[in-house]
């Protein structure tokens, strides 16, 4: 079995976001780039599946759509344990555009299981995984909080409103994962970092496609009015404010 983990290269979650060119462009100056947190969990689970000798997972590949700046993130994914990486050499434009590029990567390689994170922490679209599976006409299961292989059969726990479902799926398939899929992301060790330098990173050309959406302007949220402080010895005041000022209880 071959596993692909789709990776989004995103600003560190503690980044203070800024915009430039009249708020039409994200200002990447000084930004630290990381593997999108959900993708990192997916990668961790993919590596666990490979390491478990009960499974016949041959390889874990990571792929992203992005320019050379994303190489660092792909190397990090390989330092954690991915066997090889593929980068589609183009600036990501929107979810549709990215999913179309990734679909081409899947068509040119044979993968049995494709992992994507349920969301990326930059554009919060929750769209690439679903679109990718539709382009490939493959089954998809979303909100995956547990993914197991039993005799190479896919067993999934999917979160639903107020509960869980146990789901099986034919392969090849796309698993769109959320929190719970792995306990904690792995941290690259020095040996892994050294080895990652020698692992293959293929740069491929994009296919022709058009994005369907475009961001025309960014805005920062308006500053909130200052917090009203309440004396802990006069907590009745808080309840009164919640009832009569905020009107929420």
């Amino acid at each position: 079995m071959k596993i692909l983990v789709c990776i989004s290269n995103v600003p560190d979650t503690t980044t203070k976001v800024k915009f430039k060119n009249d708020n039409t462009e994200f200002d990447t100056t000084g930004v630290q780039w990381i593997i999108n947190p959900w993708d990192e969990l997916a990668l961790t689970r993919a590596l666990e599946l490979k390491e478990d000798s009960n499974n016949s997972v041959e390889s874990v590949t990571v792929a992203t759509v992005g320019t050379k700046t994303a190489d660092q993130t792909l190397r990090k994914a390989m330092a954690i344990g991915a066997d090889n990486a593929i980068r589609v050499d183009i600036e990501p434009k929107d979810a549709y555009y990215v999913a179309a590029q990734l679909a081409e990567v899947v068509k040119n390689n044979e993968f049995d299981i494709i992992f994507t994170g349920i969301e990326s922490s930059d554009y919060n679209g929750s769209a690439v995984g679903g679109m990718l599976s539709e382009f490939l006409e493959l089954p998809s299961v979303s909100a995956v909080s547990s993914f197991r292989l039993e005799n190479d059969e896919v067993k999934i726990t999917r979160d639903i409103d107020g509960g869980k479902e146990e789901v099986t799926s034919q392969t090849p398939m796309v698993a769109i994962v959320q929190k719970g899929i792995a306990i904690e992301p792995r941290i690259a060790a020095m040996r892994g970092i050294m080895m990652a330098r020698k692992k293959p990173l293929d740069v491929v050309s994009p296919v022709e496609t058009e994005p369907l959406t475009e961001v025309v302007e960014y805005e920062l949220p308006q500053a909130k009015p200052p917090c009203k402080m309440i004396d802990p010895d006069n907590i009745e005041e808080l309840v009164d404010l919640l009832q009569n000022e905020a009107k929420v209880i």
Binding site: S126, I160, E166, L212, T213, P232
Partner: protein
Amino acid sequence: MAVLVYTENWDGKFKKYSSELVSYATKLAEMLGTQTVALSIGDVEEGELNQLANYGADKVVSAKHEKLKYLDNQAFTSVISQVAEKENADVVVIAHNNNGKALAPRVSARMKAGICSEVKELPSQLEPFTVTKKVFSGKAFAKMVIKSDKKILTLAQNTFDLVENPKDAEIENFEPEISDELIKTEVKDVQKTTNQLLLTDAEIVVSGGRGMKAPENWKPIEELAEVLGGTTACSRPVSDEGWRSHEEHTGQTGKIIAPNLYIAVGISGAIQHIAGVSDSKCIVAINNDKDAPVFEVADYGVVGDAFEVMPKLIEAAKKVKS
């Protein structure tokens, strides 16, 4: 032309979120000068379907098929796309929840319809079709233009006000075509947490952080939630430590919620936590560190020991609630 809204059901029933979706779709249809068609998939009785007309649906399409008992993304995508085509829908509105996130992007790719996710407001203009969405996990907003003829919008929960708009809607039964080969997933078992108020549905949420010190100290969090008729949540470290289940984790990588009232107890307010709760209409922070970042986003704050403040707060809440 039409605005199609997919309203999922929960064991044959709709909930407030369904009405929010229909209200939103109807307002959008008014802007576009067209009608609202609501789509229900699965077994829902006529009386329940009629409820969708209360919020403005001009027509309700009820798709039933033995293969639609459980969610299969390909089968459901096929049904939504078939109905969108049949009704000549220009815009499809879908919930931004687990179910909607599974389906909306598939429908988008199938219909070549640009998607804008987790919207909270109607488009700011129609030419070009411009919608505002949050980006960078709530640290900014983006005005997004959807350039394709067909469009998909997913609506955030608890953000769009209900608008009653009763209509005399026809209910049309639709028998979708679903081939055997299409279905490649199978639901083997369902476990439901019974009778519990869902975190995403709750209007009042009381949430505990590492400041609660240990899982056995959760009693006051639970009690306050009960007194106020709400439910409980927690911060990421708490779920990572296994003190509470990961389903309670609110924050960037956990659940994103927008209750009327969010009470953060012993939560410092890391930026990732705030990303999950910043849409709450009112935030109360109780923390013993006056410099905790949570006070920057809170509407009301109490600096004090949670174990001293909570019993007093529970008593005061009981008085006004009784």
